[in-house]
């Protein structure tokens, strides 16, 4: 692995300045919503704004203290996105509605958990010890929504929710993190085997069947999610995540080819066998026919109408009618933003995501251990895939599937999971940008996988 070296600089003051800008965006948007509803600057507004600002500044403080070399751009980007989401959800709240406050509560919880990740996880490499525990946790999390008693049953055609008392939670959101940890751990330990053993057919080297094990497992997991939970989006997310991670681990394009073949094969079979997949595809292709509109495509079509209505500059916050779109504050929040902030505003939002995942990839390039590289790359790509599936679905680039928009959409589980990703990426970027850490890992790790974390210039690929 070649190193991308940077002179270690903390750049925490840059982060503070950007953070203030990000808070200004989120709180400013919320203020405009308030102005529009003619109830600006009441005590609620100040209370909510100061909570968000305080949480962001506490996070910043913890970074100064615990991870001073962490990437200075990540936190401000996420605070800006989260703040915009809060403003939009608040704006969409019907009089007396509580979704906005609920989202704020979840934001604070999620930020607290992310702060805890930064505070307690001194070194991301420790997570590698939990490789197989993560696999077990992923399996458990994915099975939970099917277990009678805690399952929240079928919500909008998908069984992805669980219920504790009055609270509902989507365990699949957290599963993407545990799966990324598992893949990163497994692949960083076994990449040499996968890489060197195998048969060459034509220009491509194919791996041995027994090394295909996790690949097959991942494929079965994603098909299982599709079949039992009827969740096309998560299924795509998990499988795409795995393909990218195994590609990065091995630099072998053949994995991508096999993976895409499996996706296309699986997708083709799914479209033949499962009525709901068939319906999705038909509804996507014929979305504008009045029959389909009445029985399924209404959501995406109304979203498109909203975005078209917004045009280049948007109607302005509070001036459009995003409330005409079903699920305007969750699945369709991108359409709501597109309508009121226009093409320009939505481009800015998508650019924020682009910057965010680019910083994640940058951390992946910079960190020195294979596990960290794979984990950062995998988590970043999970965000990419999620954005692509959601925004692509809303703009009718691909069929709409039920994934949440990271940091923007109303929903606690999604916020929590994505903020944990932020915490992990910050820690990995801290390792990447900081001075070389020469402290050896605790002995348990070294015994489990000898020699893996020594710099591996010897097996440098391509």
């Amino acid at each position: 692995m070649s190193q991308v070296s940077t002179t270690p600089k903390p750049r925490r003051n840059v982060e503070l300045a950007l953070l203030l800008l990000a808070l200004a965006v989120g709180i400013g948007a919320n203020m405009m919503v308030g102005v529009d509803q003619e109830k600006a600057f009441d005590s609620d507004f100040w209370f909510q704004s100061s909570l968000l600002a305080a949480a962001a500044l506490v996070f910043h403080g913890v970074l100064r203290f615990r991870a001073k070399y962490a990437d200075p751009v990540i936190l401000p980007i996420v605070v800006a996105l989260n703040g915009l989401g809060l403003a939009m959800i608040h704006r969409l709240d019907a009089p007396g509605g509580d979704t906005g406050n609920n989202q704020l509560r979840w934001t604070l919880i999620a930020m607290a958990v992310a702060i805890a990740v930064v505070f307690f996880l001194k070194d991301h490499r420790i997570l590698r010890r939990f490789t197989f525990i993560s696999l077990a946790a992923s399996a458990l999390l994915l099975i939970l929504p099917l277990v009678p008693g805690i399952s929240a049953g079928e919500v909008l055609g998908a069984r992805v929710w669980i219920r504790f008392g009055s609270m509902t939670f989507q365990p699949g959101e957290v599963a993407k993190i545990t799966l990324a940890i598992f893949f990163a751990g497994y692949l960083s330990s076994n990449r040499d085997l996968i890489l060197l053993a195998g048969r060459k057919i034509g220009p491509m080297q194919f791996p041995r069947f027994k090394d295909m094990g996790p690949m097959i497992t991942a494929w079965l997991v994603s098909i299982g999610v599709l079949v039992f939970q009827r969740d096309l989006g998560s299924s795509l997310l998990f499988f795409g995540l795995f393909i990218v991670m195994i590609y990065v681990a091995t630099s072998r394009i053949s994995w991508v080819v096999i993976g895409l073949a499996l996706i296309i094969g699986g997708g083709f079979v799914a479209a033949q066998v499962f009525a709901h997949v068939q319906q999705r595809v038909y509804g996507w292709l014929n979305a504008f026919s009045p029959d389909v509109y009445e029985n399924g495509s209404r959501q995406v079509i109304e979203g498109l109408f909203g975005m078209a209505n917004g045009g280049l500059v948007g109607t302005g916050l509070g001036q459009g009618r995003p409330d005409l779109v079903p699920f305007a504050n969750s699945d369709m929040i991108i359409a709501s933003l597109g309508e009121e902030l226009g093409l320009i505003g939505l481009f800015a939002v998508v650019l924020l995501y682009l910057l965010f995942f680019t910083r994640g990839f940058r951390a992946s390039l910079g960190t020195r251990d294979a596990f960290g590289k794979l984990l950062a790359c995998g988590l970043s790509f999970a965000v990419v895939l999620q954005c692509f599936v959601v925004i692509g679905g809303v703009t009718r680039l691909i069929p709409l599937t039920g994934l949440t928009t990271p940091f923007l959409a109303a929903g606690g589980s999604s916020l929590l999971a994505n903020w944990i990703i932020v915490g992990l990426l910050l820690m990995i970027s801290h390792a990447a940008r900081g001075p070389v850490d020469t402290t050896p890992l605790p002995p348990a790790e070294a015994a489990a996988a000898p020699g893996i974390d020594t710099p591996t210039e010897a097996v440098k690929q391509s």
Binding site: M1, S2, V4, V244, Y247, V248, A249, T250, S251, F288, P290, Y293, I301, L304, F305, G306, M307, A308, N309, G310, G311, L312, R321, L324, G338, G342, L343, L346, F347, V350, Y353, L354, F357, T358, F361, S364, L365, A370, K373, C377, S380, F381, V384, C387, F388, I391, G392, T395, R396, L397, Q461, S462
Partner: protein, 486 residues
């Protein structure tokens, strides 16, 4: 590994490039199509209470926004002659969307079209209320009223009157009609109740952007023989003096079915017929034999050239059903029946009128046009559609020959009722059996035959032979007189 990470990043950026493309497409490139989509209620909700432009016929508004005096909703859309123009204006409803011109001209009427950009800038700086452009139609109010009155109440039927040389629509009326004011009311409960009543009336389709003349696909019956005639002459196998077989019945190998001649005329008097005689008396077997001789494709090709199953052009600004053209996969009896406009041949009254007008206009089919001028709020003309040729249907020679025979059908044949003293009228009747003892009765023709000024198509649905004859040719005469005596 770092190289692979960079590749993954490039893939991620490529995916995001697709997203940027998709967003641009939805919000800018394809936004106008989305805004004018009939399913889209936003435009209506947003400017429901604005001062929309009027739809004007002969200087009088047939759809206008009037001040309500209410604070919350300052303007209300009203239709002063509701039933007469419902098929053209459509309605503008807060909860049920818009249809007709209210829908297709929504951007202009609301003042959002690009042509009104400068007006919008002006409104912005002067703080004026937004006001839409007004749309003046080519419709002649007297002819429209006459046509509407000529369809008896309770009778389903359509009348289309056009200028064959320009494609301008002078009248387009149909019954049953409805009162768009009932649907445009601000009282949501009343609106729902009214709609629930209206949808029970057969022949009113509130959800579609079409009315009878443009939306109903009907069996054309014998007026389709004009297509056979044009196809025959174009093939070179026939000329004006050709002698056609005219048996009383045509039989087919191996089946019982026999195709008879039209019982109402004088076809039975001859075993063979000239084109002139066959068209005058509307005999069936000569045209069936032409179709069997030329084959399905020749007839289908000529039908397409006359506009069957084809686009009507974008000047109409109303929804239009196209139909499937001349049917495919026909056996001999099927081809014979199709050739006389029965079986599965279907056309809208407007399509039949366009065919007739093409014959009247020397084979050149014009785009049907409903919009005379588009005026900005300060009455400046911002658009004035010019006549446009849609396609060439046949040669001037063939058109002239068919005109001559159509004229003889009026002067000597079964379309006599359409004759106007002192003016040569060209016409063709049609009677399409519906299989339940009733017929669609047609007349289509134009006048004067040597210099056509007006082309008239009338169809009465579900009538017996006598009523059909009374309601078509004689009514065409009244319309010819009204237009030509102006």
């Amino acid at each position: 590994m770092n190289q692979a990470i960079r590749h993954a990043w490039v893939a991620a950026v490529a995916m995001f490039a697709l997203l940027f493309g998709a967003i641009s497409f939805v919000q800018v490139v394809g936004a106008d199509d989305l805004k004018t989509n009939p399913l889209n209620q936003r435009a209506i909700l947003q400017n429901y209470c604005n001062d929309r432009g009027a739809i004007i016929v002969g200087g009088t508004p047939v759809a206008e926004s009037v001040q309500t005096g209410s604070e919350t909703c300052t303007f209300q859309r009203t239709y002063p002659q509701p039933e007469l123009y419902a098929g053209l204006t459509g309605y503008f409803s807060k909860n049920y969307g818009a249809t007709g011109l209210e829908q297709s001209m929504a951007a202009e009427l609301a003042g959002n079209s690009d042509q009104l950009f400068l007006d919008r800038v002006g409104q912005l700086f002067l703080g004026n209320q937004p006001k839409g452009a007004s749309v003046e139609l080519t419709i002649d109010p007297q002819i429209q009223q006459l046509a509407y009155n000529l369809i008896p109440d309770g009778q389903r039927g359509s009348i289309v009157v056009t200028n064959p040389k320009t494609g301008a629509i002078l009248a387009m009326a149909s019954k049953p009609s409805y009162n768009p004011n009932l649907v445009a009311t601000q009282d949501a409960a009343a609106e729902r109740a009214n709609i629930n009543e209206l949808v029970k009336v057969p022949g009113i389709n509130l959800n579609q952007n079409v009315s009878g003349p443009t939306g109903e696909l009907l069996a054309p019956g014998s007026v389709f023989k004009l297509v056979d005639t044009a196809a025959a002459l174009a093939s070179g196998k026939y000329n004006k003096d050709s002698v056609l077989p005219n048996p009383a019945e045509m039989s087919f190998d191996g089946i019982q079915y026999k195709l008879p001649n039209y019982a109402g005329g004088n076809c039975y008097t001859r075993d063979t017929a000239t084109f002139a005689f066959a068209l005058q008396q509307s005999c069936n077997t000569p045209f069936a034999s032409i179709a069997l001789d030329l084959g399905r494709n020749a007839i289908a090709d000529q039908a397409r050239k006359f506009g069957f199953g084809e686009d009507v052009g974008d000047q109409l600004k109303l929804g239009h059903a196209l139909g499937n053209g001349f049917p495919d996969n026909l056996d001999a009896p099927g081809l014979a029946q199709s050739a006389i406009g029965q079986k599965d041949v279907r056309a809208t009254p407007l399509q039949i009128n366009m065919m007739t007008s093409a014959i009247a206009n020397g084979g050149k089919q014009m785009q049907p046009n409903l919009i005379k001028t588009l005026r900005s709020p300060d009455l400046r003309v911002i658009d004035e559609p010019q006549p446009q040729q849609l396609r060439t249907s046949t040669t001037p020679q063939i058109a002239g020959q068919i005109t001559e025979w159509m004229a003889s059908a009026v002067s000597e044949g079964i379309a006599k009722g359409a004759a106007v003293p002192g003016i040569q009228v060209a016409g063709k009747t049609g009677t399409a059996e519906l299989g339940n003892g009733t017929n669609n009765s047609w007349f289509t023709g134009f006048a004067p035959a040597n210099n056509p000024q007006v082309s008239v198509t009338i169809v009465m649905e579900g009538v017996n032979i006598t009523t059909g004859a009374q309601l078509t040719s004689p009514n065409a005469k009244k319309i010819f007189e009204a237009v030509l005596n102006k």
